[in-house]
Subunit: 206 residues, 2 copies
Amino acid sequence: MVTLQPIAPQDIEAESFRIIEHELGTTDCTPEEFAVVRRIIHATGDFSFAETLRFHPQAISAGLAAIRSGKNILVDVNMAASGVSTGLLARFGGRVICRIAEAETAAMAKANTTTRSDAAISRSVADNIGIVAVGNAPTALLKVMELIDQGLFNPDLVIGVPVGFVNAAESKEILVRQPYPFITTLGRKGGTPVAVAAVNALLRLA
Amino acid sequence: MVTLQPIAPQDIEAESFRIIEHELGTTDCTPEEFAVVRRIIHATGDFSFAETLRFHPQAISAGLAAIRSGKNILVDVNMAASGVSTGLLARFGGRVICRIAEAETAAMAKANTTTRSDAAISRSVADNIGIVAVGNAPTALLKVMELIDQGLFNPDLVIGVPVGFVNAAESKEILVRQPYPFITTLGRKGGTPVAVAAVNALLRLA
């Protein structure tokens, strides 16, 4: 016998957050970091992210400043673009940018024998990017870090949480050692819902 | 020291599948079911889905027949619509339908004091739907099952993998007992990438 909890639509998120807080107990993150952790667990049903998430000390403040100043958010895949609360972002003047499906991106990838994810990042460095959020493609995250190292790209916050078995964990091991603001998850897990949840948590905090 | 595996873009998926097969070992599912399991693990980095996935015995054959006959695929959120390989689906004549963001859906939800997810399903029953894929909203999955019970909706396959803490696991406990073809995951985990991976695995099999 399965019983369903009767609950009004607008109360579902609050009730989910209550359950997460109850089961997770106390954590050693700040209240703002916890808002990100909580929304990621809400999006995945997976408490392991409470252990694998890593925040640069300035991650939250840099992300909020970028949103409030009206900067844009760059994402690696269209699924992420669909998930970000664009209405909230638009109130601050920013928009979501994703160039993965553009013809010029495919052409650049072919010419350079690289991935479309890589080319889509390279084509976006001059787009007033405040936050970069990569949930899918390790090659996109690697390209972001390479362009920053070369002084060609200067985002305020890198959310790098690619998922998978080839270079995902490795790319995040590199990100977690960087001096600039980042949010990442160690290991293979991550994904577009994780990236989107982190962005949307920041949008609500802003 | 982090070393990155040098790998050509087109080989990343094959290498990921090789790693998954190696670590997972033998399973008791059919080769077609395994193609779905493998793609879901690839999309999430989470081997626990190999244990929690449940297939109705006719799930694969019903899903493939629906795709091959040119029927449409109904999804609960726009993120899922962005993730489905629409090019592959179009070759068979089908398209992806998602009514969550339409103004009529919001109006119906308000009038009926229900969720937009629920209303978006109700508005799609006459759209020649072969596969329904719900990765986000338990209320959407509950509505699908209710409409089928009432004889008002007749999809060939229900992929019901909502994620979360309020009614997600409960809705899947109901689905797993239904007589019609389904694919689901027990417990709280699931999500849009899981739904999308299942659909895309079927599209490749077709």
